[in-house]
Symmetry: C2
Subunit: 496 residues, 2 copies
């Protein structure tokens, strides 16, 4: 079975890059009592030639090596465009922590998208000078939140980045405000579609999953039922279901596996080939089309009782036990602060400006009824982080549907990707190069990955579409900068 | 002699508006420990009709009533475009002070252009909802720093403002970084041109002014000379020149008068008719073309001795004693905190992000040699405000010469205006409606003022040019919003 790029035996990607650190302002937007922190970034310059370009990965909510290792599109296009690859880490994630771990959670105020963009803006300014080429064209790449950040970065700093490939910048229209008729249930619906024959999965799968929640609810209400659950689902002794609340938590745990398998951010996604994306390179990879594999455990129509729960547990295991090493499941185990801090910090961002709206109804999806409650979500944020989201801020700050004055952004979305329900699926302005590319067989930013023999033709086409614009923007940047300099000189003459 | 608009006997403009206050975040860019302050704005809705538009004055570094009373262009165009006029006050200025006066200077951290734009963004969001018309076209107007803010606001928030008339947003290219071949001496040169025959002033004026500084320097070094200075220049007893430093300070005081007369921001400028702009409506106005009037006191070739200093003092008096009430000049008198706090706060902005570069050489201008020293300027800021400027920030944040990805901005500049040396004097992109209009006989944002019988034809033409774009952008905004909605609906269908 074919492997992704970093598995073919060449020198590991990370060893082809320089890990660097830079001092930058903790708060770019004030001058009183400035403090600084160290931001990490990687520079991979083997393809760089003077007169070339810079490809910048606009880091999102994880260790930036994840993107370095998986953003094959950048690696594959670099030689042709004499491109220097730069992978910039998002503040508070990976190793770019502004405070020691023991006190970091007491200093969250500067974890915002605006501040992260300030980091990227100053980094680019410095890099261009270091290269001795202030006119060097810069193409930004980002997936998921990185794709949204890239979109906003091009909107707000077009003088620093000439164009952006926004891979699965899908949740960009999931905010409150005046966004298009966005269906908050779309995420759960698309997960369900992936687990249905139209997603290549067993016909009975979604109905069995839906039945499983009801059974967990029913059995969770009696001592005997709870024992049956723990046994059928192979729960570890310390994770035995001991109350109705435990049963509910178990539902959350099991349903999350479907979200991740289908394509949660930073997770491996429903890719058409085995992938190690989720585990940042650790083996073994998840199987190809893992939702289909999970559904294989729930393929028999009308499953019930212990057989149903066994199937549900096995399906969840495709995600939670992809190594096959776990003797039992510990759903009660809290997140490991060492490995899960990044996921947790996205929770902080959610609780401030990234307040996205999602719901389920159990009818159009295979989950249960869970309408979105702004009030409850805000209360959770106050309880958990001591901050109150501003639900409208994202739309006020970044425009929501009103992106038409921006330019040079390709929005890509895979239709297998549950996030695509909040994405830009049609051109906004062809004249401004604000264009969309849809990958019917695509999962979460599949197009940004290395090319692969099992890639569906649509993702190959999407990459060609993206390259067309990258080439165009590079040429445009070089010629515009020439003419703007001429303009400026003309202006300088005019004023004499 | 003709009077400007607010003098013709109608109801005063301010009485035709509602003064309103709104709560807004002191820091828009963090979520931890939010605090709020009250921002003032005025709404003048006599011309507003549903389906019309909003004209927003993007307040700069003064009491917003100054702009309300003088931005005639907005008042004159409002009826034709069914426009609601909104005059928004800049935080920390006028009455929009976030803290009580006694402690305000200890809480300067939130006086930034980015925060001011956050105020305007949230104000517009609220206003559009209040009007029940989220698609209402909004045209921004601003002069001087307000014109720069307007430019940046359109760059960063094009989803909220559809186009901007940036009147004399001249200093926009006076920042450090990679701006066009900007001549830091241009301000002093243009003041000198205004005081020369090409500015309609007496031929001997500039040479006499230049000679006066040398005389002040010479006489300032002896007791007898200092007495002669104090007598010739009619200095009040407490402002007598008692040292060489005093003589230097007197030079600063006298040369500032020329800067203001020629057109310092917020000052009345070298307008072609008597104007009360500087004194926010107080009578009597400054005379027409005040630089010419000032030069009238220095018209005799080869003035020297007491006659020269008398002439210099009279010239300064055109500004400092425009009322004719002062029996003597008190150049040592410090700024009055009640009336001069706004000017002082601009000093804070200069010392943070608005770090503009100006110099004199005494050869190409009528002043003395004073090269710009970044180091000294930074030290002054540390001493005065306890903050350190970031000289490159303005260019990193707002793009310097790289404005080409923006759209819908008219840059106007009067060539009598000393600030025009740092302005956009040629089109940046006709395709993007990033266009320049130059007013050879214009002073500092003359085009934004009420029309006047003595207006030179070039300013009338500039206003027509501006109106052309305003009308275009209003039509564009209405039609784009219709098509982006259709797009969004299309996208919503595509995702089903």
């Amino acid at each position: 079975m074919a492997l992704s790029r970093q598995g073919v035996g060449e020198k590991p990607l990370i060893e082809r890059c320089k890990e660097r650190w830079r001092e930058t302002r903790l708060d770019h937007f004030t001058w009183v009592n400035p403090t600084y922190f160290k931001q990490r970034f990687f520079v991979c310059d083997e393809y760089w030639r003077p007169g070339g370009s810079v490809f910048l990965y606009i880091g999102n909510e994880a260790d930036v090596t994840l993107y370095l290792n998986n953003t094959g599109l950048m690696w594959e296009l670099a030689p042709k465009y004499d491109a220097m690859l730069v992978f910039a880490e998002h503040r508070y994630y990976g190793q770019s922590k502004p405070f020691p771990a023991s006190v970091l959670r007491k200093h969250m105020a500067w974890l915002t998208s605006e501040q992260a963009m300030g980091d990227y803006a100053t980094l680019l300014w410095e890099l261009k000078r270091e290269l001795g080429d202030p006119d060097v064209p810069v193409i930004g790449f980002g997936g998921s939140y990185g794709g949204m950040l890239g979109t906003w970065f091009r909107m707000k700093y077009p003088h620093l980045v000439d164009g952006v490939i926004a891979g699965s910048a899908a949740p960009i229209w999931t905010y409150k405000g005046e966004n298009p008729p966005y269906d908050p249930g779309s995420f759960a619906k698309i997960v369900t579609q992936d687990a249905s024959p139209e997603g290549g999965s067993a016909e009975a799968c979604a109905d069995n999953v839906r039945a499983a929640w009801k059974l967990l609810d029913r059995w969770g209400s009696s001592e005997e039922g709870r024992q049956s659950i723990s046994a059928a689902m192979r729960l570890c002794p310390e994770s035995a279901v001991e109350s109705g609340e435990d049963a509910t938590a178990l539902c959350d745990w099991a349903s999350s596996a479907w979200d991740y398998l289908a394509s949660a951010a930073r997770a491996m996604g429903n890719y058409p080939y085995p992938s190690v994306y989720i585990v940042n390179g650790a083996q073994p990879p998840l199987p190809a089309f893992p939702v289909r594999v999970a559904c294989g455990h729930l393929a028999e129509p009308g499953l019930d009782g212990e057989a149903l729960l066994e199937g549900l547990a096995r399906a969840a295991g495709v995600f939670y036990n992809h190594t096959g090493d776990l003797p039992c499941f510990s759903f009660k185990q809290g997140p490991n602060p060492e490995t899960d801090e990044d996921a947790d910090f996205w929770g902080y961002q959610y609780c401030t400006e990234q307040f996205q709206v999602f719901s389920k109804d159990g009818v159009h999806d295979m989950f249960w009824e869970e309408p979105f409650s702004t009030k409850a979500a805000i209360q959770d944020c106050k309880d958990g982080w001591g901050v109150e989201p501003r639900p409208l801020w994202a739309t006020i700050e970044w425009g929501g549907k009103r992106l038409g004055a921006a330019s040079n952004i390709v929005f890509s979305n895979g239709l297998l990707d549950p996030w695509s329900g909040g994405g830009v699926l049609a051109n906004i302005s062809q004249a401004n190069d604000l264009v969309a590319v849809v990958i019917p067989e695509g999962a979460h930013h599949l197009d940004l990955m290395f090319s692969h023999p099992l890639d569906p033709p649509s993702v190959t086409a999407a990459r060609a579409f993206e390259e067309h614009y990258i080439a165009k923007w590079i040429a445009q940047a070089r010629s515009q900068q020439r003419s703007s300099l001429a303009m400026a000189q003309h202006a300088a003459v005019a004023q004499q």
